[in-house]
């Protein structure tokens, strides 16, 4: 992990969180902002911090999330039905970001609706350190990159097992904060086992960037998180498993804290 390329405060803070993570890899749990409602989701975010999160990926719900599997889709639908708006999610970022870096995740249309420049500036003002937009690939990224740079936050790109070497090199060179490495060819969601391709994509991603490599999509158990760290991932993102826990548990806040703690333990 090289820090000499770091240029914005957002990148700086993310780099620090990866470098100082106590485990073998940084733990980045994903939270659907506003799910099941804005107030509870703020308590869930705090539970993530208390359970040992090194960074938090904060989802902003969109009506048509094409990169997400059924669990996160349903959570987005419920968050929207509960009246969650963009400002509600920024409020969660504002409350949590003093404790751990927050990386926002949302879809292109919410960013464009506000205007990329204003969205990035508002995200930065809310304390976010970075932005992930899964339906903005390399081809559509330049305007958003400029907006994030101006606002001082990192635009975190994604790579997938289908990404060719040539694209991987270009994306890896542009990566800010970290390189979001998708472990499977597919949408978000728990898998019984990590795919055969995950170790390969971790290795390929690491070879293509000086930014930390964080592995996400499909990591559902502490054992899988540990295997990701063994394969060389600098960070591990846990999404659907935690969102499902928040949906199903009688006491979602306590349940997710315990689950995050078990992931943190597996990475020690």
């Amino acid at each position: 992990m090289l820090t000499d390329a770091v240029t914005t405060p957002g990148e700086q803070r993310i780099a620090q969180a990866f470098a100082q993570a106590p485990g073998r890899a940084a733990l980045m749990p994903y939270l659907m902002g506003g799910f099941p409602d804005p107030a509870t989701s703020l308590r869930i975010a705090q539970a993530y911090v208390d359970g040992g999160a090194d960074l938090i990926e904060l989802g902003m719900p969109f009506s048509d999330p094409i990169a997400d599997g059924p669990v996160i889709q349903a959570a987005a639908g419920r968050a929207l039905a509960a009246g969650t708006g963009v400002e509600d999610v920024f409020a969660i970022a504002r409350a949590i970001s003093p404790q751990v870096p927050v990386v926002l995740m949302t879809y292109a249309n919410l960013v464009l609706a506000r205007g990329a420049d204003r969205f990035a500036a508002d995200a930065a003002a809310a304390g976010a350190s970075g932005l992930i937009v899964p339906d903005v690939p390399l081809e559509e990224a330049p305007a958003l990159q400029a907006a994030c740079a101006a606002a001082g936050i990192a635009l975190v790109p994604l790579v997938a097992p289908t990404t060719t070497d040539e694209r991987l090199a270009r994306i890896g060179a542009l990566a800010q904060g970290f390189l979001y490495t998708v472990s499977v060819t597919g949408t978000t969601g728990e898998r019984a086992a990590l795919s055969d391709e995950f170790a390969q994509i971790v290795g390929r991603a690491g070879g293509a960037t000086s930014a930390p490599v964080a592995l996400g999509f499909g990591i559902a158990t502490p054992e899988q998180a540990s295997a990701a760290a063994d394969a060389g991932a600098d960070g591990v993102i846990i999404g659907s498993r935690l969102v499902r826990e928040a949906a199903d548990a009688a006491d979602p806040v306590a349940a997710v804290e315990e689950l995050v703690r078990s992931f943190a333990g597996a990475l020690r």
Binding site: F62, D64, I66, L112, A113, E139, P157, A160, T162, T163
Partner: protein, 393 residues
């Protein structure tokens, strides 16, 4: 036939490729394969032979005399309802099916609203020996049951989508998720002129046969071009295929007809081009879109499943902004009445989608002295819904 192979990524500001990275290599592969295939005379000959001998092209251009009498001007109908499977959708499905074979992809997925694109795709897959999965909203499966049965008889698997309003938008999202998961073995045959580049260009070029034939036919029949070319617009494939042949004829007005549903003021409609507003990203492209101020997509509404979609394709949005085409919208009730009127005047039962365009030429005053309408599909699929709703009209 146009020989120029162009894949436009942007139509003015619209279009682009707003998809997960997982799909980008497949879109690049598709674009290269399409440019190669469309320039290949053997590929074109194979498609033309299928369109002629299997699908029944060219379709007739028919002067609807009794409609003309009411309208006070000649109305020519381009009879895509006479195409095999009963709608223009087969033009695109056959072309993309052949392209999938050429790319070595043996599994096909599609989304469908009215079921005509699903039937077209299931038909092409049966013909070409390809596996076929069609995503369809559960509400659309109810109102277009005959098409569900046709797809299943043709060997396709129809997967019900229960999310949201259980219509075309959700079916399309689910098809994209399937593609993200199975992209290495699967080709996604998008049925409308929407989606990330290169799809809007591919679908337009495959549907352009409608306009090319119609232009030649009307010149042969009348010695002139129509004053106005009219087509219904959901995503916009029959309209863009028809318009494409006339877009360089400055004397020909182009009119797209969207679904006004329960009325534009009701908020329950499918008319993003007509109502205007900020463009938005849905299903991989920047398009005309019904959305909230924050960018959440608003559910569309139309009695016709094929127009029940909150967006319209990027090229239409650009044609509107440039002033080359205009767009208007027709309510559910007017469309239902047009189905009955055209059935009784001409002995043709049009699809509910098409009926939106037919209402405009039949009932709305205009200075046009000759109209050409794309009769994009036949209405057998709608019988249950039409008979249920007609007493309201």
């Amino acid at each position: 036939m146009s020989a120029k192979v162009t894949v436009q990524h942007r139509f003015g500001a619209y279009g682009g490729q707003y998809v997960p990275e997982t799909l980008m290599p497949a879109l690049l592969e598709l674009e290269a394969a399409w440019i190669d295939a469309w320039a290949d005379t053997e590929f074109r000959a194979r498609l033309d032979a299928l369109l002629r001998d299997y699908a029944g092209r060219p379709t007739a251009l028919y002067l609807a005399e009794r409609m003309s009498e009411i309208a006070g001007r000649p109305i020519w109908l381009k009879r895509e309802d006479l195409l095999h499977t009963g709608a223009h959708k087969l033009n695109n499905a056959l072309g993309q099916g052949l392209l999938a074979v050429r790319m070595g992809k043996r599994r096909i997925i599609a989304e469908t609203g009215a079921g005509q694109h699903g039937v077209g795709t299931a038909t092409a897959c049966a013909l070409l020996g390809l596996e076929c999965v069609v995503y369809m909203g559960a509400e659309d499966m109810r109102r277009q049951l005959p098409n569900v049965q046709r797809m299943e008889l043709l060997g396709a698997e129809v997967r019900a989508v229960e999310a949201g309003t259980r219509t075309l938008k959700e079916a399309t999202s689910e098809a994209i998720r399937d593609w993200v998961t199975n992209v290495e073995t699967t080709h996604y045959i998008i049925g409308s002129a929407i989606g990330p580049a290169p799809y809007p260009s591919i679908v337009r070029d495959l549907q352009r046969v409608i306009g090319d034939e119609a232009r030649e036919q009307i010149l042969a029949a009348t010695g002139r071009l129509p004053a106005r070319v009219v087509a219904c617009v959901g995503g916009g494939s029959n309209a863009i295929g028809t318009f494409a042949a006339f877009v360089d004829d400055p004397g020909v007005r182009l009119l797209g007809v969207e679904a006004a549903g329960e009325g534009l003021d009701s908020g329950r409609h499918g008319a993003p081009l007509t109502v205007g507003g900020r463009p938005g990203v849905l299903h991989g492209a920047l398009i005309a879109l019904l959305q909230t101020d924050e960018g959440q997509v608003i559910e569309a509404h139309s009695v016709s499943a094929g127009l029940d979609y909150p967006g319209a394709g990027p090229e239409h949005a650009h044609l509107r902004d440039s002033g080359r085409a205009t767009y208007t919208a027709v309510t559910d009730l007017d469309a239902l009445r047009a189905v009955r009127d055209v059935a009784r005047l001409e002995g043709i039962i049009p699809a509910l989608e098409t009926a939106h365009a037919l209402h405009v030429v039949l009932r709305e005053a205009d200075t046009s002295d000759m109209d050409l309408v794309c009769l994009s599909g036949r209405g057998d699929k709608d019988l249950a819904e039409v008979m249920r709703r007609l007493p309201e009209c």
